[in-house]
């Protein structure tokens, strides 16, 4: 049988297709989902591919069921992923919080479309940036990666699986309609060039096993249902064994572990791209599909002998505070173009010193922010 991932080859590939191929490269065992534009191609491609590999695929009755099935499968040892868009993402918040609380690895792909509500189903937005961070109730860890081209759809899907397995936490791949439906020439890596991580398994005797053992890294090995390690999982706040607790010290231990497993390892998540920051008084702070317009705007301005920098967080949550601060605190102006009415800009404002002027550029009508719009905004502030 031919390999599904075209290792080492060059192809014209769609963004959503690259996500599906990335999932296969990462070793996906289980996909559950519910059809929704503009993410459906991911489910469709995996429906074709996964049975060929003897892997599991199911279309559930709604998005709540999909993410719930994902958690059940992941606890039984399967690397699991789902794909959705805004309205489905809203429904998945319940399961997302459960997976954070119970420390179950899974990958959730949200191909953003314009909202609120049903909004503009076939058109682009970046309206789910804050929902990705705070959509589910309660304090919780959060990891969100944002691709800006088709190759990154592949690479970041693999990275999302790896991070979720390593840190026992859900990871969100926040794509958007433009990236998802765009076709680009992609040269795939060689198979041996793709690093794949699996969750660490316990090696202790079964009677010693603690499903939430306190380790130095705040992440403990994770047994699978059926492996002989029997354990309890609940969304109630729990002790190291997984049993419900209201004891103050145990509750605090759990909550700080959930936080610290991410915040004490920020280096593992941080991923930024910086172009021409040095010597630029003005920097465009952009992510996702808008980053493409930002790079184009930078080029147009360079031809006009205007130097601007472009700063892009690939991982938007956790927000790259330290690096962004180091690189951007001495700037005069940061322009933050977003396909929303201002979401990540609040993080930029929070992070930078008062001497930096932070200028928004919004668009919420379902169309991309063009390079020309960014150029105009730069000329306005320069």
């Amino acid at each position: 049988m031919k390999a599904i991932v075209p290792w080492g080859e060059t192809r014209l590939v769609q963004g959503n297709e690259a996500v599906a191929l990335g999932a296969i490269a990462a070793g996906i065992d289980f996909f559950a989902g519910y059809p929704i534009t503009p993410s459906t191609e991911i489910a469709e491609m995996l429906a074709r591919y996964l049975p060929l590999k003897g892997k599991k695929w199911i279309q559930m009755e709604d998005e709540i069921a999909s993410i719930s099935a994902l958690i059940g499968a992941s606890l039984a040892g399967a690397k699991s992923m789902t794909a959705t868009s805004g309205p489905g993402f809203s429904l998945m918040q319940e399961g997302l919080g459960y997976a954070c609380m119970t420390e179950v690895p899974l990958v959730l792909v949200n191909v953003m479309r314009a909202g609120p509500s049903t909004g503009l189903p076939t058109q682009v937005s970046q309206g789910d940036v804050m929902q990705a961070r705070w959509g589910t109730h309660g304090d919780h860890p959060c990891v969100v990666l944002v691709p800006a081209n088709v190759r990154e759809c592949f690479d970041l899907t693999v990275r999302a699986f790896n991070l979720s397995e390593e840190f026992r936490t859900p990871v969100i791949l926040l794509s958007d309609e433009v990236i998802g439906h765009m076709r680009e020439r992609v040269t795939f890596p060689q198979r041996e060039g793709v690093h794949v991580l699996d969750r660490p398994q316990p090696v202790c005797p079964v009677e010693w096993y603690q499903h939430y053992h306190q380790t130095a890294s705040n992440v403990s090995p994770m047994a699978n249902y059926g492996s002989g390690y029997r354990f309890h999982v609940t969304g109630l706040t729990h002790d190291v064994h997984g049993f419900p607790t209201r004891k103050v010290d145990e509750v605090n231990a759990k909550m700080s572990r959930l936080k610290h497993k991410i915040t004490r390892r920020l280096d593992a998540f941080e991923d930024v791209r910086a172009h021409g920051i040095k010597g630029s008084r003005v920097v465009i702070f952009a992510y996702g599909s808008v980053y493409r317009s930002a790079l184009a705007a930078q080029e147009i301005l360079a031809r006009k002998r205007r130097k601007v920098g472009v700063f892009r967080p690939v991982t938007i949550w956790p927000f790259p505070d330290r690096t962004a601060k180091e690189m951007l605190d001495d700037k005069d102006v940061l322009i933050v173009p977003e396909l929303n009415q201002g979401q990540l800009i609040h993080e930029v404002e929070r992070m930078t010193v008062d001497s930096v002027r932070v200028v928004p550029l919004h668009r919420v009508d379902g169309y991309e922010i063009t390079p020309e719009e960014i150029v105009a905004k730069v000329q306005e502030v320069m």
Binding site: G54, A65, A69, G226, R230, T234
Partner: protein, 278 residues
């Protein structure tokens, strides 16, 4: 007859998790006893069992048993269970749910699990109300009955759990009660043995909430009511309809062989892999 207590103990996390949360007179512990005796008689290994639940009094059950256990979000036990069963079809998966959990918030999941016919046993403890939140009406609260959210009496009609799930395609559907314990042991065992989506509705008293709101007497009176208000299916078949009016029928309503989902999925994989290899 010899006491079964030592056997039951072997299945419990008795050193760590007891005492349990259920009120005096609650029937859920009796259902747990029946589940354990059914498992014991089948000789299942603890490692091979996954008990999933949602939210509510019944859904607290998994914490007490030494299986693989999963206490999920409200209504979603079957969705979580579906994922686990697909990922590892060797697991014996059961979902324990209350009436509100299974049929109100979980209504969509249960009809589709039945239609899909995935090999999970659903045990639905029907106590006619939401016990954990203090006795609000559920989809199985009978018309006219009082609860904290129907202070003037329930005006909505109730779900017939067995009829609903038989209609949705479940290949095994049965109803028992916590008064008829030996019968319940057998029904649950039959449900476990069924390859496919099986359902056992268990009528159970909630003296703390539903009983008190409707002045149904104490726990013993409510148990006696279960004895007097239910009738075995074989007996009901022989009686004229006016004699069975107002009685709940106990027994097996559906027992048929239908291809099971994880088997069909495996067949699909085998077929497409053979075609791709050819």
């Amino acid at each position: 007859m010899a006491s079964r207590l030592p056997d039951e103990y072997r299945y419990l996390r008795h050193k760590k998790r007891f005492p349990h949360v259920w009120c005096p007179g609650c029937g859920i512990g009796i259902v747990l006893g029946s589940i354990i005796r059914a498992i014991d008689s089948l000789g299942w290994e603890l490692n091979d069992i996954l008990m999933v639940s949602g939210i509510g009094c019944t859904s607290r059950m998994p914490v007490y048993v030494d299986f693989n256990t999963l206490h999920t979000t409200h209504g979603r036990a079957l969705a979580f269970g579906t994922g686990a069963k697909m990922a590892n079809p060797e697991l014996n998966v059961m979902a324990v749910m209350g009436d509100g959990d299974a049929l109100a918030i979980g209504g969509n999941h249960i009809i589709h699990a039945a239609r899909r016919n995935i090999d999970i046993t659903s045990i639905i403890v029907n106590n006619s109300n939401y016990g954990m939140t203090g006795g609000q009406f559920s989809p199985t609260t009978p018309r006219g009955m009082k609860t904290s959210t129907t202070p003037y009496g329930m005006i909505e009609p109730e779900f017939d759990i067995c009829g609903l799930l038989a209609g949705a395609g479940a290949p095994f559907v049965a109803r028992g009660s916590v008064y008829h314990v030996m019968e319940l042991d057998g029904l649950i065992r039959r449900a476990f043995e069924k390859k496919g989506f099986s359902v056992v509705e268990v009528l159970s008293p909630c003296p703390t909430n539903f009983g008190r709101a409707n002045r149904l007497g104490d726990a013993v009176a409510m148990m006696e009511h279960l004895r007097d208000s239910t009738i075995p299916i074989a007996q009901a078949a022989k009686l004229p309809p006016e004699k069975t009016k107002g009685k709940m029928v106990r027994g097996i309503f559906v027992d048929r062989d239908v291809p099971e989902y994880t088997d069909l999925y495996q067949e699909l994989c085998d077929r497409v892999q053979a075609e791709a290899g050819a």
